[in-house]
Symmetry: C2
Subunit: 205 residues, 2 copies
């Protein structure tokens, strides 16, 4: 750990700054220390799709580690003041060779991410927006909260829209629809009360 820390470099970003942009070649691994980072992609037509949100402890750019020469199409933007550690590709490789256990951990993390990503693709591809939204809400219920939990949205609604592959207007309408149906209540400040989780999950026309 100490040795890794020795190679790591800490960087700070203010809200709105980019850790990196598509095209930029830079083969370091980024690990978030404090703050919050949005990872998104831009389509040809300029629309963005949120890939994920990095919280403290999360990392990204593992792609750069193993395929350093291919340019990568993601943008990483700090959504508040953020500090990250970066470790150069070369150094990471060294550590992985030296401590194989790290590779196993990393493989586990990556296989989880792959699973999530595949599920996300399948949902966007075949489910309606209301279904995706319901599933999104259900995923964000902290386990063990009973059947009528209150959750806090992990991101702004416009980001939920982007994550789910739709628009803020549509998300707004779908939240309204769920509320009209008596399935949820929108409390103040990103808090949502779910009346009955089972009912909610059943509501997918």
């Amino acid at each position: 750990m100490d040795r890794i820390a020795g190679k790591a470099q800490t960087k700070h970003y203010q809200k709105g700054e980019f850790l990196f942009r598509s095209q930029e070649k830079d083969d370091a691994l980024y690990i978030v220390n404090h703050g919050k980072v949005r990872i998104y992609r831009l389509s040809d037509s300029g629309k963005e799709q949120l890939v994920r949100i990095l919280n403290p402890g999360n990392f990204t750019r593992e792609w750069a580690l193993f395929n350093p020469d291919v340019v990568h199409e993601e943008y990483a933007e700090a959504t508040r003041d953020t500090s990250v550690c970066t470790i150069q590709q070369h150094d990471v490789q060294e550590f992985l060779k030296e401590y194989p256990a790290i590779s196993l951990k990393l493989l586990g993390e990556m296989s989880q991410r792959l699973e999530r990503s595949a599920r996300q693709t399948a949902q966007v591809a075949v489910e309606s927006v209301i279904t995706r939204l319901v599933l999104f809400l259900a995923e964000n219920v902290e386990p063990g909260m009973g059947n009528s939990p209150t959750i806090t949205l992990p991101m702004a609604k416009k980001d939920i829209a982007s994550y789910l592959g739709t628009t803020p207007e549509t998300i707004s309408r779908k939240f309204g629809e769920l509320e009209n149906e008596g399935l949820i209540q929108q409390l103040s400040g990103k808090r949502i009360k779910i009346q009955d989780l089972d009912d909610l999950l059943l509501y997918s026309e």
Copy 2:
């Protein structure tokens, strides 16, 4: 290699048989020897989304290696007579610990897959069907074939539809549209002639 082969077990499947289905718990890694396997997911509403197609040399179920207790939601169906090697989770772990280089290879492969999957999600989320189809065709051009290549579709059109998150009817129409625009020609037996790759890529309204 010999030692790995010693632990591996070969299985044969006929066309239409399943290597595994969602829910089934079985923590082996599958490597395709001969044949072709469709990996897909099923939505609640019963629609399927093609995740990928396995050709000889490809593997799947790496998820099972690192998260053996979580059930996985994919179906794997042999689309022709197929033989695969399976290696038990436990054995793979052993090899990885013993030969760290394998982990690095595996990480490289997984990071590529993750990249593809993220791109796939972004496309399905924000691009129109015609754009997705164009990108799909462009991806299937073998490199170094000039600007007016002929390609062979790697799967049936209905599978392309499923892969791109749309329906066979729509795919059929979009192929028709591209042909009317003079951008491609549909030859017999899954062969497509692209008139001008650059023009094709520009055609995304």
